[in-house]
């Protein structure tokens, strides 16, 4: 007994030290991430927030702003640019729906019907990323150009007039958005469809559900996590995008991203640009929250 007591006493401090070390380990592991987040997320956001309420003193040089806590900046910025705001959400919404309509059959085919071709098709989905985003968007000006294949085809149809144009139209902008964000829709959809046990679908057929009913009652509900993730990954960047509207649109298709871009870099109106950025961020956050609540998949995402 005495011996046992002795060892117990002797080892107690060692255990304490070990426990202390172990309790600090998670913080050490968190450190790189936290430093990164503070340096490249928290500080810029704070700077942006402070910029958004600044004003330019009378007679100061271009680009000189001082903090004056002018929250009126937000209302001014929004009311001056609400068309572009709504346009952004409408374009992004249409592009998201189109991407969903294109990506769902594609992902379904890859997940259930592709067999040995599966990996190859997945590589094809990701392949566009191997070239520049800008280059691919500019390529759309040629695809949709007046002499391009799409316009020539449409002109050959009886119900389009001969002076039809597609470049510099809302159609071109939405097409570009849909195209550019398609992989972000396809991959999460594929991931959730691929996880469905094919025997669940067989079971539905066994329980008197025909193909369409099986799709509606089993496949779609089980792929909802992918639908939610895909639509978010498409809608959020599409709403803030300015490249597609810049390269494929006209002055009347400007989106909020274009306004922020020109406020920052052309007009050098930092407070308005910052206020617009914050408003966009808040609007997307609210929309996304409502969407996730509505789709009832918070436990699945």
């Amino acid at each position: 007994m005495a011996f046992l007591h002795a060892t117990a006493h002797a080892s107690a401090p060692a255990i304490d030290n070990a426990a202390k070390k172990r309790s600090l380990t998670p913080y050490f592991l968190l450190l790189p991430g936290m430093v990164w987040l503070i340096g490249f997320f928290v500080l810029p956001i704070a700077t942006l927030a402070s910029t958004s309420t600044m004003t330019r003193p009378d007679g100061a040089a271009v680009g000189t702003y001082v903090q004056s806590l002018r929250f009126q900046n937000y209302l001014d910025a929004f009311s001056a640019n609400k068309d572009q705001f709504f346009r952004s959400f409408i374009y992004a919404g249409i592009a998201t729906l189109l991407a969903l309509a294109i990506a769902y059959p594609l992902a379904y085919m890859i997940a259930f019907k592709a067999g040995k071709m599966r990996s190859f098709l997945l590589v094809l989905v990701v392949a566009p990323f191997f070239t520049s985003f800008l280059l691919r968007t500019i390529a759309w000006t040629q695809i949709l150009g007046d002499e391009g294949p799409v316009v020539s085809f449409l002109k050959a149809l009886p119900f389009f007039s001969n002076d039809i144009r597609l470049t510099s139209t809302p159609f071109a902008v939405v097409s570009g958005l849909t195209y550019n964000f398609l992989p972000f829709m396809t991959l999460p959809l594929y991931a959730s469809l691929e996880r469905i046990d094919p025997r669940t679908l067989e079971a539905a057929g066994d329980l008197y559900a025909n193909g369409l009913t099986t799709f509606r009652r089993v496949t779609v509900p089980l792929s909802m996590p992918g639908v939610v993730a895909g639509t978010l990954l498409t809608f959020i960047p599409a709403a803030g995008d300015y490249v597609n509207a810049y390269l494929l649109g006209n002055p009347n298709t400007r989106m909020i991203g274009n306004v922020i871009d020109s406020r920052f870099f052309a007009i050098v109106d930092y407070p308005t640009a910052a206020a617009l950025s914050f408003t966009l961020m808040a609007a997307i956050l609210i929309l996304v929250t409502l969407y996730i609540r509505k789709s009832g998949t918070d436990e699945l995402v």
Partner: protein, 376 residues
């Protein structure tokens, strides 16, 4: 669409010359079979013998290459799965993870346009004794509970035939025993034809009225559990269903009720009615528990040496090496008169002629013995 026409054919299930060929092998080979209405039928065989393919063809999940499937007088060979009065309990249960237990069970009823599903669902939940779990999701249930829900989801539709594809494979031994009894009780209560696919011979024998032993796409033998066990017709059945001692022999004469067979220089008797072969070259079979140690039964093969003894509770299992160097398995009951035998002892072996069976001699002695009973 909510009310697809489900065939309401009634009667026995017939498989007529059914064949399923895949690209490089024949899974089911010219199989004919009749399952009487209301029976508990087991398809037993090692993995890859074609039993699951047969089941999937009955369910409509695979299309036969040739042959016909019918229930009563209705041909259902090419009917879509959702048009057949057949339901399946899948191996991994395949419950719908996004639906509650109640909705899982109601799925089939709703598809057929049944208006008031509550009563039926409640009844079947009561039958499987899980009424309190109706509002849970499948992943909140244990394996055994999921298994019972899978059965409930199928039988609530009152199908003509219920197919069970290795339904107990994922459960542990104790739960499996319990579910075997449970399934048999349910089958007796609902009176539906059950077709149970399994590789577990004990499970098949416990539950089924009739067992068809399948091997390489064909039925080796069909009959009641006792029939298959006592009078196997092939070496595969003799070895796959329990254990058998098979000994090569030559028929000396067939006269009266018994034939005289010479095995390694010793003459023994076999009842003519228990001989599956008319040829002269035969395999003599005796079940291990029918072999007697140091007793004076009629078919005596003289002395052998005990090479192994393992105590398994109800009995002790011995390996005895015979004069012709074949190791025979002997089970001795651990009752009052149990002899005290150790490895290395010399013992005499004998058995009663009525416990002998004889098979065609041109078969592999070990057919069916080396297949993995527990393979999935």
């Amino acid at each position: 669409m909510s009310n697809p026409k489900v065939s309401d054919s009634r009667g026995d299930l017939h498989l007529n010359r059914l064949t399923k060929r895949f690209a490089d092998f024949i899974a089911v080979d010219d199989l004919s079979l009749t399952v009487p209405r209301g029976s508990f039928f087991a398809l037993l065989g090692p993995s890859g013998c074609g039993k699951t393919t047969t089941l999937r063809m009955i369910a409509g999940l695979e299309e036969p290459t040739q042959g016909m499937i019918s229930i009563g007088d209705t041909d259902i060979t090419t009917a879509k799965p959702y048009r057949r009065p057949v339901n399946t309990v899948f191996q991994n249960y395949a419950l719908f993870p996004h639906l509650t237990i109640f909705e899982n069970i109601a799925f089939g009823l709703r598809r057929r346009g049944v208006k008031d599903v509550k009563k039926d669902v409640d009844n079947v939940l009561e039958l499987v004794e899980l009424g309190h779990l109706a509002e849970r999701k499948p992943n909140q249930l244990s394996g055994g509970q999921q298994q019972r829900i899978a059965v409930a989801r199928a039988i609530v539709n009152k199908p003509e035939v219920l197919l069970l594809d290795e339904p107990l494979g994922a459960l542990d031994l104790k739960l499996r025993r319990q579910m075997q009894i449970e399934l048999k009780r349910i089958q007796m209560e609902v009176g539906i034809t059950f077709i149970h696919v399994t590789h577990d011979q004990e499970e098949a024998m416990t539950m089924a009225d009739t067992i068809a032993v399948m091997n390489q796409g064909k039925i080796e033998q069909m009959g009641s559990p006792a029939e298959l066990y006592e009078s196997p017709k092939t070496a595969f059945v003799a070895n796959f269903l329990g254990q058998s001692n098979l000994i090569k022999g030559k028929v000396n004469s067939r006269s009266g009720a018994n034939a005289s067979v010479n095995i390694h220089g010793i003459d023994i008797e076999v009842p003519i009615t228990r001989m599956a072969s008319h040829g002269d070259s035969v395999l003599i079979g005796v079940r291990p528990e029918k072999l007697n140690i140091n007793a004076k039964s009629k078919n005596s093969i003289g002395n052998g040496t005990v090479t192994d003894a393992s105590f398994v509770g109800v009995s002790t299992q011995y390996l005895v090496k015979t004069s012709w160097d074949e190791e025979l398995v002997v089970f001795e009951q651990n009752d009052a008169g149990a002899p005290d035998i150790k490895v290395g002892d010399t013992v005499s072996l004998s058995w009663e002629p009525a416990h002998t069976f004889a098979l065609d001699g041109n078969q592999d002695l070990a057919a069916g013995a080396d297949v993995d009973h527990e393979a999935d």
